[in-house]
């Protein structure tokens, strides 16, 4: 499935995207996360590392620029338990722009429409959790707990918030209705 909004194209990742994803993850702020315990892999090993424990990846592409503003990853899916985990990354120049949180709406729409999952979860570092706060206040997401001082980042302990989004809350949310209503409006053609 491909989802388009007035400013983004949300589509499945392809090999041509790997260079952009590598740059995104190689950014100093992203490197502080725990994704690669032994450091960023060299480019020739990146594809294997990117897909480890991963079930699907979608990129958030700017309609006007064709540039990748971020990507979202579905990983550690347990089909028996009907849950999975997600991660989201924003390109340094797109942080705070809302592109990736818009991508999260498209992600929820695809994941809950096409995958038999009841819950998706994410770990969010203390410095990133503000991006979820609005969704938590409105009931679209839940903070399931906080792992206090779970990570050591730049030598200092940092809390890790565990965020959950349930199929039920997404499917019945006004946010979803509004998102899909906006999608239904006519779009100007995306550049080739």
């Amino acid at each position: 499935m491909r989802i388009e909004t007035s400013r983004s194209i949300f589509r499945a990742v392809g090999p041509r995207d790997y260079d952009a994803l590598y740059s995104m993850e190689n950014d100093l702020d992203s490197l502080a996360t725990w994704r690669y315990k032994t450091g960023m892999p060299p480019p020739e090993e990146y594809e294997a590392a990117l897909w480890r424990q991963t079930d699907a990846i979608w990129v958030v592409e700017g309609r006007d620029t064709g540039r990748l503003n971020g990507y979202l990853q579905l990983h550690d899916v347990d089909l028996r338990a009907q849950n999975g985990w997600f991660s989201l990354y924003a390109a340094p120049e797109s942080r705070g722009s809302g592109f990736v949180m818009e991508g999260l709406m498209a992600f929820c729409e695809i994941v809950f429409d096409e995958w038999p999952l009841r819950w998706i979860y994410a770990h969010s570092l203390e410095q990133n959790v503000m991006h979820f706060e609005s969704g938590i206040r409105r009931g679209h997401a839940r903070r399931l707990g906080v792992l206090e001082k779970r990570m050591i980042i730049d030598g200092r302990p940092s809390d890790v918030h565990v965020i959950g989004i349930s199929r039920e809350s997404w499917m019945n949310s006004r946010l979803r209705a509004r998102f899909n209503a906006l999608r239904a409006q006519p779009l100007t053609p995306a550049p080739d």
Binding site: W34, K37, Q53, D78, R80, A81, Q82, N83, R118, W119, Y121, L144, G145, V146, L147, E148, K149, R150, M151, I152, V162, G164
Partner: protein, 127 residues
């Protein structure tokens, strides 16, 4: 995918009664403690009798700040005298279907400092 740092079999006069493992030990100075018993009150009691030693060993084999431990709703905790020290941090509601019923998964943490001060034992990390 789990990476195991240590594991023990717990044995009583009646034979093996359970196992304990330490896994997911990483650079953040935390690890996951799992403790399992065979069915039966005697086996559970035997494990609860040695839990302080098990935890001291877990802190001793690696320079950990904290241990995590998790259970589904109907699992016994087996934490014995250490039970009050474990703080609940995360609850995943209806996390998985077990024998036809969705059960929540609860994750708790035990800080090394709380363990050492309560049981008056300093656990020397490995050199």
């Amino acid at each position: 995918m789990k990476s195991f740092a240590a594991g023990v079999v717990i044995t009583g006069p009646e034979g093996d009664v359970g196992i304990a493992t330490l896994s997911d030990v990483g650079g953040s100075g935390t690890g996951m403690l799992d403790v399992w018993s065979i069915p039966g009150e005697d086996a559970r009691r035997r494990i609860e009798e040695v839990i302080v030693e098990l935890i001291a060993s877990a802190f001793g084999v690696s320079d950990l700040r904290a241990l995590y431990h998790e259970r589904f709703d109907r699992d016994p905790w087996l934490l014995g005298a250490t039970e009050p020290l474990w703080r609940t941090e995360v609850v995943f509601p209806e996390f998985a279907s077990i024998e036809g019923r969705f059960e929540s998964r609860t994750q708790r943490v035990l800080w090394r400092s709380d363990f050492e001060s309560t049981f008056h034992r300093h656990v020397e990390p490995p050199a």
